[in-house]
């Protein structure tokens, strides 16, 4: 992983230096000084707080978050005591309060810091600076941020069209998706159609797919340990609708500890994933979102190949999944949506010296209805029903219901496509 390390440093250093020198003192226009946008307001960062809470009920005996850890091929791999915070409790839940600060830093960078405060403490979701003046369609970003692969990964929870994450994301990357410390370079190609390429190098600290275990029997891999690449294409320039297609892939270091029957097996190796995403949005032109429609879908395949450290042989596995969802503005300010998901169409694992095991697939169907009294508040009702393949314990069906309330105070946010 040394090449990753040095190339990342080189890339970041060169870009930043070039960036600063490339912008000679351009004549600038003094900001408007009307009665309301005084100097104080324009220098302060935009501040907003988004509160996300929900009432939740699920009907399984075992507890759905526990079931998800047991899911054949996806579930727990040794350390089960860690991710307690991911579980939703029946009853009232305060997901988190998201505090966001953003501003132009200077003539060269813009920056954003986003802290998610929950009852268990505060967590830095994002803290990054991004260049604003690189030439040739380039843009560089450094800090902690959401990877821009796929479509839903880069979105904050309040931007999702459903109250919960797609199953494949939750099972592969955990509740935060791929959110890590690193650098990103993206390039808007000078083509007549929208074509955006991105490369990211991350520390590789994901809680599910890019784990570094603490054990004397495992090598200590230096960071950065994860590389991601993606491309997005918007081939048409329709007046009322937009279609965006994407491809992505990532590869990085991963470790697992398996404890079975008193024996401890330590594995170290590579996990990679690849997939495709598509999103279509239609703007009806009517007021209050009536008649607007979105369709989005993502497919995700992951493959791991880990070497046994205390012996010979390797642990290999492959899982996949997809979701497809659509929403439609049925009335002014009201949207209805449907989502269908499957995981484990490919679902296999092979441990050293054993036969390859094939596991079954799981599915989930969801329906939601949301109401937005204004741009700053939203109430959402959602029902999920799914069959979860728990391996030896068989398939279990579970219902879930959400009533979610999201509201935002402070600066008027702007959302990306």
């Amino acid at each position: 992983m040394n090449y990753l390390n040095s190339s990342a440093m080189l890339m970041a250093g060169t870009l930043l230096a070039f960036h600063a020198s490339a912008q000679e003192a351009a004549p600038s226009i003094p900001p408007l000084n009307d009665s309301t946008s005084g100097a104080m307001r324009s220098f302060n960062p935009a501040v907003s707080a988004i509160v996300d809470m929900y009432y939740y009920h699920e009907g399984s005996e075992e507890g759905l978050s526990h079931m998800k850890e047991e899911m054949a091929g996806f579930g727990g791999h040794g350390h089960d005591e860690e991710h307690e915070h991911g579980g939703k409790e029946n009853g009232f839940n305060l997901n988190h309060v998201e505090l966001t600060f953003s501003a132009e830093v200077d003539n060269y960078f813009k920056a954003l810091a986003n802290v998610a405060v929950s009852e268990d403490g505060a967590e830095i979701e994002e803290a990054w600076a991004e260049t604003t003046g690189l030439p040739w369609g380039l843009q560089a970003k450094a800090g902690k941020f959401y990877s821009n692969f796929g479509y839903i990964n880069a979105q904050h929870t309040h931007m999702w069209d459903f109250s919960d994450q797609p199953l494949i994301y939750e099972l592969s990357l955990g509740e935060h998706g791929l959110n890590d410390k690193g650098v990103q370079l993206s390039w808007l190609a000078p083509t007549p159609v929208y074509l955006l390429f991105g490369a990211e190098i991350f520390q590789g600290d994901n809680e599910m797919m890019y784990v570094q275990e603490e054990s004397d029997d495992l090598p200590e891999n230096d960071g950065p340990r994860l590389g991601v690449g993606w491309v997005k294409l918007a081939p048409f320039q329709f007046e009322k609708s937009e279609l965006q297609l994407g491809l992505f892939g990532a590869s990085g270091s991963h470790q697992e500890i398996h404890e079975e029957g008193g024996a401890t097996n330590n594995y170290d190796g590579v996990n990679w994933f690849a997939g495709a995403d598509v999103v279509y949005k239609f703007d009806s032109g009517k007021a209050y979102g009536q008649g607007d429609a979105t369709i989005q879908a993502e497919y995700f395949y992951r493959n791991k190949d880990l070497d046994l450290q205390n012996g010979t042989g390797s642990l290999t596995g492959a899982q996949d999944g997809y979701y497809i969802q659509g929403t439609y503005g049925i009335l002014p300010r009201w949207r209805a949506g449907l989502r269908w998901e499957q995981v484990g169409l490919t679902n296999e694992e092979q441990e050293p010296g054993e036969d390859k095991e094939e596991f079954g697939e799981s599915w989930r169907a969801s329906a939601m209805l949301d109401f937005r009294p204004s741009e700053f508040s939203q109430v959402r009702f959602q029902l999920n029903n799914g069959d979860y393949d728990l391996g030896d314990e068989g398939v279990e069906n579970a219902w879930e219901a959400f009533v979610q309330l999201t509201f935002s105070i402070g600066a008027h946010g702007a959302h990306r496509f």
């Binding site: 912008q23 226009i29 009307d34 309301t36 918007a234 320039q237 032109g285 204004s374 702007a414």
Partner: protein
């Protein structure tokens, strides 16, 4: 082979030359685009993000807009937070540093216009609905404001392209005199409405009504951005009956249902008129847009 490559290079450089001669201007709304076209004449390629049928409050930062912004030499916005939900993601996404706010390639058209509805900062609250801290952003529907905007655009084009300064200045001056000339006709056509009250759907007509001496008694929206509720419509009906109001005025993108329900009960006339150029075949440019609004209100 060499010959073919040579031809291709020649063609490429030719297209680059013709391209380099013209400024690329992207405006957020179509009325801004029309005024810019008038001021720039043949010296610029002008395009608008909003088509005229779209409400500029509620756009998404689509890849299409990023592509438009990418090649712009000048970006002109209405400002006053009208485009706050999508402008920066489009500019960031375009990686075009020329058009970032604060640079000569970014023009806020509201700089010198006459503003209305500036809320008292002491009581400003989101409970007031979709109000804008720096005032009501629908200022361009007042032809006097359009003259200020044309002057600002001419000044900025001059800064970016000094050799054509005279043309820009002349075109802006011609636009202003055209407005002055037309104003007499518009005023006399609108004379029967002078001093009268009307009802509008959204608070997007206040500048126009002030210019032509029309009172706005009440809006169909109980608060800006909140769709009409039955209780509020009852109040609208009472107001219309009490003040003998004859006209309910709204933009084409709002449903006519609420207005028609009120009209049925009161006998008022529902007038749908565009506020942006290009949303109606008759509103091809800014002057034609005002002509059309006047015609719809007075026919």
């Amino acid at each position: 082979m060499i010959y073919k490559t040579g031809l291709l290079l020649l063609a490429l450089s030719a297209s680059a030359l013709s391209y380099a001669g013209k400024l690329n201007v992207v405006t957020t709304t179509s009325d801004l685009a029309s005024i810019t076209e008038t001021v720039a004449g043949d010296l610029a390629n002008v395009s608008s993000i909003c088509s005229g049928n779209q409400d500029p409050h509620h756009l998404q930062a689509r890849p299409k807009y990023v592509m438009m912004a990418r090649k712009a030499d000048l970006w002109i916005r209405i400002g006053m937070d009208l485009e706050v939900g999508w402008e920066m993601p489009v500019i960031d996404g375009s990686r075009n540093r020329k058009i970032r706010p604060g640079n000569p390639g970014h023009l806020d058209a509201s700089a010198h216009v006459h503003k209305l509805d500036i809320p008292d900062a002491g009581i400003l609250s989101r409970a007031m609905g979709d109000v804008h801290a720096s005032g009501n952003p629908h200022y361009l529907i007042d032809p006097d404001n359009a003259k200020h905007v044309a002057d600002d655009i001419a000044e900025r084009l001059t800064q970016l392209d000094p050799k054509n300064a005279e043309t820009y200045k002349e075109n802006a001056a011609a636009f202003s005199s055209k407005i002055d000339e037309k104003m007499a006709g518009w005023k006399s056509a609108m004379a029967p409405l002078n001093g009268k009250s009307i009802v509008t759907y959204h608070k997007s007509w206040i500048y126009f009504c002030e210019q032509f001496g029309i009172e706005i008694a009440i809006e169909l929206e109980p608060k800006p951005g909140v769709p009409p509720s039955p209780t509020h419509l009852t109040r609208v009906i009472q107001t219309i009956q009490a003040e003998d109001i004859e006209i309910i005025l709204q933009e084409p993108w709002y449903s006519k249902k609420a207005a028609e329900r009120v009209a049925e009960k009161t006998g008022a006339r529902v007038v749908a008129a565009p506020t942006y150029t290009g949303s109606d075949p008759e509103a091809g440019d800014y002057i034609a847009l005002i002509d059309l609004i006047v015609k719809r209100l007075t026919e």
